[in-house]
Every structure is written in C-alpha cells, then in structure tokens.
Symmetry: C2
Subunit: 198 residues, 2 copies
Amino acid sequence: MPKGQPTVVPDDGLTTRQRRNRPLVFVHTGMGKGKSTAAFGLALRAWNQGWPVGVFQFVKSAKWRVGEERALKVLGETGEGGTVAWHKMGEGWSWVQRDISSSEEAAREGWEQVKRDLAAESYRLYVLDEFAYPLHWGWIDTQEVISVLRDRPGTQHVVVTGRNAPQELVDFADLVTDMSKVKHPMDTGQKGQRGIEW
Amino acid sequence: MPKGQPTVVPDDGLTTRQRRNRPLVFVHTGMGKGKSTAAFGLALRAWNQGWPVGVFQFVKSAKWRVGEERALKVLGETGEGGTVAWHKMGEGWSWVQRDISSSEEAAREGWEQVKRDLAAESYRLYVLDEFAYPLHWGWIDTQEVISVLRDRPGTQHVVVTGRNAPQELVDFADLVTDMSKVKHPMDTGQKGQRGIEW
C-alpha cells in the first residue's frame, strides 16, 4: 500500500500533475509466480480508464494465458471500457504472412510491431508478456529497446514481464518488482492446474 | 515459467490428477507492487473456468481497486464465465446492519463472513485482499485462520495478499510469492496515477 506522499520532490520543472501523469515503464521479473498475472491485473485498471490495451505474448505455448486472453477480450468487446488487442507469437503473429523459421525470428518480428505501434501511439498500455526472455537471450538488443522506449511519443505505459530481465532495462525502468519464489506447489510434486496456472 | 515436471513425486497415496487438483492457499506478500494485481489476474483465470469468485477487500480506501472491481463485475455479469461477488470493508460490508466502530471490528466481521462462505462452499476462488494486515496487527488470530483454511471443505482456492504476512501463514500456504520492491516511481517523487495505481 504505497503512501500518498512521495518522500522526494524532484527539481525537474514539472508540476505535480505533470509528474504524476508521466508514462511509465514497468518490469516484473524474478523467479516467482505473479509477474504476468500482475501485468494483466494492471490491464484491468487500464481497461476501466477506457485506455486501448495491446498485449504482445512472447511465448509459444498455446495453453498459456488462455484465461487472461479470454477475459480481456470479452472486456474489450463490452464497449464499457478500453479496447483490447491480443497478439500471439505462438500463432506466428497476425501481421506476418510468411513462415517464421525460429523463435528468435518470431521474437524479433514481435518487437518490430511493438516499435510500429509505439510510433503510431496505437495503445496506452502495452503488456509485453515474457519479453524479458528474448532480451536475456540476446535475440533482441536491450539498448535498442531502451532507446525506443525512452523516445516513445505521447503517454504510453509499457510493462515487460519475465525472468532474468537485463540489468540495463531494470536500471532504465520506472517501476521494478522482483517476484521471488518463496514456495511453489511444484516443489512438493503438485503439477499446474486449470484455473490456476492458465 | 514453471516446467511441466515436478522434481519430487510425494508418497501421499494420491494420483497425479488428484494431487494436481488439490485446492491451494496462496500468499502474495512483500514490499513491492503487484501483490493484489496478481491476485486479480488469477481471478481472470478462475472466471474463464466458470468458477464463482468471491473478493473480500480488507481496505478502507474507496479509491483502491476501482478498476479491478468494475472489470471483474462486468465480466461476472456477461454470463460467459464465473460469477463475481465483491465485498468491501470500506462500505461496512453488506451483511452487517449495525454501525461498525473500528477497522479492527470491521476486519473481524469480514473474516466471520469468509468462514461462513468457506463452510457453505460459496466460491471456488477467494481473494482476501490486504488480509495480511489484520493478521499482522493481531486483529484476527493467524492460528484460527490456518485451522479454518486447513479444514475447509471441497475445492476452494484462497489467495491472501498484503505486506507482512505472518510467518505461520507463509509456512502453511502452498504457494508464496514475495513481491520485492526494486524501484517505484514514488521514490523519485512521482505520485500514483489513474489507471496505474487504481
């Protein structure tokens, strides 16, 4: 529960309102559960504000995120909040017509579309789900990502999730939470279950 | 991304399926952001499975969770997934008719209703939002909570969020994530903003 009063008031020439409404970059990293679920929880707030939300799912498993995907799509279609666009690497991305030969290439194609959308200000909240992996593996250049995020126009919030987020991205981000695993049922032999893991 | 295979197969007499579907107690604690948002993200998965979801919001601020509340209520009303019941301490709880004199009393009344609902198997997922606080402050007895959770009937998953979750509850829970704050915009003088903090 963050307190209402910041302890530091920076000398940045901004009013409190201007500073308050600056667009943010979030990183949810660490070995524990909750990195992506927290990002999708954030998407509920964005939806409630009427913001267009863009999800880019940088994972290949078809089972992953089915609950969140359906819930957010249903919400987007009600017309009572923001719109929701859901993009899946696992289906080869809708904007790519040719065959993609590798996960690395697929991840890069995803990032190219994120760049186009940021330039076009397509969304107000971007959930780059599991995007830390292609950065960690060096498939996408972290410095380029930071540079694009730093120069993005307008008011566009971006959440990056996934283990092993590169330190440079952590240093650059505005809000970073490390989800640490204290205990997981898998440790005592319990496999993931419907409604809980997906 | 948990791997599909547990490293330990316990000698508990259960089949893999029985073990997989055991009801879980989650604790999201720590000083970082994402404890409650991850719980509401989990509620999306539950909704998608058609599970009845009960949220008990153990906080008094009217501003908190407005986005999640509206989104989950809208989802619950679509009839395309589970139902959602949202209970608020900040409004004195709907089942309490008399005036409540203190936060401590209000928290206790909340817990009494959770007990009744667990006994009646009212929901399949319980989000006890910020419930770690009244436990930490000693307003509600942690041993009693553990005892009630241990003996709860049927298949009822329970998520407890909040800083300073008591160690006994952490020891008892099946899945515990510590959300550690690495960085928060408040540290550099940026106050919470609409769509992000609520």
